[in-house]
């Protein structure tokens, strides 16, 4: 009997997932390769330096490996959403720990070096990165999951452990605040 279709086509196939769950290193590697880009993107935009992003991304996947056996029974929850949820919560925890220690506003994430890119677009991207870094963490997380990872409000609500209305409101407030900050910066 063939396995039923589970979620979007770009999710890890069931057999590789089953093997990763059993601790098969090749399957675990396939899982990391499949989801590393969105995890890096989320952690970087959440406000991490390259080194910090790599550390948190590694921690994300190690936690995913550890908790993967429990994911089997989660029916139709998307694996990618679950992994992004793990990454988001680690990012929030890490930011809070860092802020408690440093008692200062978090630095915006490092801009990505893209020398051949259009200058005005690069400036805009840097302005967006600074503006996102200004957002309160719950708003920031909700906005990133919605704008860059195309998660539904229900998925965002589950990831951030809030109700759907709160998730919508956080995204809305984040977008409004971004407009204001970008207007101030770009004129």
């Amino acid at each position: 009997m063939a396995a039923p279709a589970r979620g979007p086509d770009d999710e890890l196939d069931e057999l590789t997932l089953a093997r990763a769950r059993r601790g098969d290193p090749e399957a675990q590697r396939a899982l990391v390769l499949r989801y590393q880009r969105p995890v890096f993107a989320l952690l970087h935009r959440f406000g991490g330096t390259r080194e910090g992003v790599e550390d948190l991304a590694q921690e994300t996947f190690l936690r995913v490996f550890r908790e993967l056996p429990g994911f089997r029974s989660q029916g139709r929850a998307r694996l990618s959403t679950w992994i992004l949820t793990v990454a988001t919560r680690l990012a929030i925890d890490a930011k809070r720990r860092a802020e408690v220690r440093a008692r200062h506003r978090p630095e915006p994430p490092e801009p990505v070096a893209t020398p051949d890119r259009d200058v005005s677009r690069r400036r805009l991207g840097e302005a967006v990165s600074r503006a996102i870094a200004e957002l309160p963490e719950p708003q920031r997380a909700a906005l990133l999951l919605r704008a860059y990872h195309d998660r539904s409000y229900r998925e965002i609500a589950d990831a951030l452990e809030c109700d759907v209305g709160t998730a919508k409101s956080r995204v809305g407030r984040a977008r409004q605040r971004l407009r204001e900050l970008l207007k101030e910066e770009m004129g």
Binding site: A3, R19, R22, G23, V32, V39, A41, F65, R76, L178
Partner: protein, 460 residues
């Protein structure tokens, strides 16, 4: 700034790319001995009922964390025998081989006390073969372990190789991948085409030419049509045609084993897929699956989005279920009705159990259900009730008694557990039984909410 302009600005913010070796670094940092538990069918465990949180509209789910499954076995082979090692690999044991194995999660431990066994191991650092002379650790490979009988007649060995063979109690040959052999005296890593002798009295060492000659000659003798024992004189007397014949015989044996391994690997793969499919499915369930779930103390519930304060929406599932606009309308109306009915029934049970009509009015069906579950009689916890429902579904227990004899908790759980069937019946009236069945089966159960309640009630 318009929405489009803001979206464009957001798109201009590019993110870091992972370094090329990131996946390798993560995998190498993963603890090697960490168990990868899955659900064993008969393992006793505490009853853990996890209700799908926020089952309002999404595919809510429940999870029980399971102990790692353990599969143990033993074999004293009197003929060539293939053994599937619980998904961790395959062993092909020759007559006279003796082995015991224990597979727990991702870890396979094998004790080979005698004989000749060919192994095909799934990639893992937790596949180990213990021999009387030391340990063989495997990293995804094909290899052979031969525990040489110390009492065997030297006639089985050839000339000068006999001494080396007797001194080396275990011979390990690697065909693919990498193997580490070791004992208290040291360790040696072998690649494809390499072999080593393991001796309890010294560190492992590469098998020298003499040992290789002995090994080939021994195999040639064992495979020879005329009998197992070939002495030096007999070997020396063989002409080129006879030697070529032996080479062909050996090659044929290797091909036969390779085919057998592929067949077993195919079986393992099919078993994985079937297990995954059954694991993920809630509906329809065959009688065998219902029995399997009941025996594993597992109750599966799929249902429409009726447990929130308000009825859920058909939402994105309209597309995944392939619904026409008219069907969306019909199904949404059915959801609204099912929600109202569930809320009414659970409120009545809550009032019966607590007398608190005012409180009931402000609770969602999910909250009412949770409250009622917590109010189960001492001698009949939710686990016992759920297990009984699972056994009834499987035909392993008689149908329930009269409702009047059931506690409010039991009636609430039964109401909850039957929500999927009730919804199907509701839709069957509007869309016909075949369409209702097909919609529920399309994604292995109603797509809005799934729950698995797991655990055996004797430990409730």
């Amino acid at each position: 700034m318009t929405d489009e302009e803001l979206d464009e600005a957001l798109a201009s913010y590019e993110a870091l790319e992972p370094p090329a070796d990131f996946a390798d670094r993560v995998v190498s940092a993963a603890p090697a001995d960490e168990p990868a538990p899955t659900a064993p069918p008969r393992t006793r465990r505490r009853w853990l009922a996890w209700v799908a949180a926020g089952a309002l509209a999404a595919a809510a789910a429940t999870v029980a964390l399971w102990p790692a499954p353990v599969e143990e076995g033993a074999l004293d082979a009197d003929a060539r025998t293939s053994v599937a090692l619980a998904g961790r690999g395959v062993a092909v044991a020759e007559a006279g081989a003796s082995l015991r194995w224990r597979v727990e999660g991702a870890s396979a431990e094998i004790e080979q006390s005698a004989g000749d066994v060919f192994y095909r191991a799934e990639p893992s650092e937790r596949f180990r073969v213990q021999t009387p002379a030391g340990e063989v650790r495997v990293r995804g490979t094909c290899f052979r372990v031969e525990v040489l009988d110390m009492n065997v007649s030297p006639q089985l060995f050839v000339g000068a190789a006999a001494g080396a063979a007797l001194a080396g109690a275990v011979l390990v040959t690697v065909y693919e991948g990498e193997v580490a052999v070791g004992n208290a005296h040291g360790e040696l890593v072998l690649g494809p085409g390499e072999r080593a002798t393991l001796d309890p009295a010294r560190a492992p060492r590469p098998a020298d030419d003499d040992a290789e000659a002995r090994d080939e000659a021994e195999r040639a003798g064992r495979d020879a049509p005329g009998g197992p024992a070939v002495d030096e004189d007999a070997l020396a007397a063989m002409d080129e045609d006879a030697l070529r014949g032996r080479v062909r015989a050996l090659s044929a044996r290797d091909r036969e084993r390779a085919q057998e391994i592929e067949r077993l690997r195919g079986l393992l793969g099919d078993a994985d897929l079937q297990a995954d499919a059954s694991e993920a499915r809630f509906f329809p369930a065959s009688p065998a699956e219902l029995r399997q779930w009941a025996e594993a103390c597992q109750l599966r519930v799929d249902m429409p989005p009726v447990m929130g304060m308000e009825a859920g929406r058909v939402g994105a599932h309209a597309e995944t279920l392939g619904l026409s606009p008219e069907e969306v309308e019909v199904i949404q109306a059915a959801i609204d009705e099912a929600h109202a009915s569930m809320a009414e029934d659970l409120r009545a049970l809550y009032v019966e159990a607590t007398g608190d009509a005012r409180g009931a009015a402000h609770l969602s069906p999910q909250a009412l259900f949770a409250e009622l579950r917590d109010k189960a009689p001492r001698d009949e916890g939710p686990g016992l009730i759920m297990n009984r429902i699972a056994r009834e579904r499987a035909g392993l227990a008689p149908p329930p008694g009269p409702e009047l004899e059931q506690s409010p908790t039991e009636r609430a759980i039964r109401r909850y557990a039957s929500a999927g069937d009730d919804f199907q019946a509701r839709l069957a009236q509007a869309l016909g039984p075949e369409r209702a069945h097909a919609l529920r089966a399309a994604d292995g159960g109603w797509p809005w909410s799934h729950s698995i309640f797991s655990g055996c009630p004797d430990e409730d």
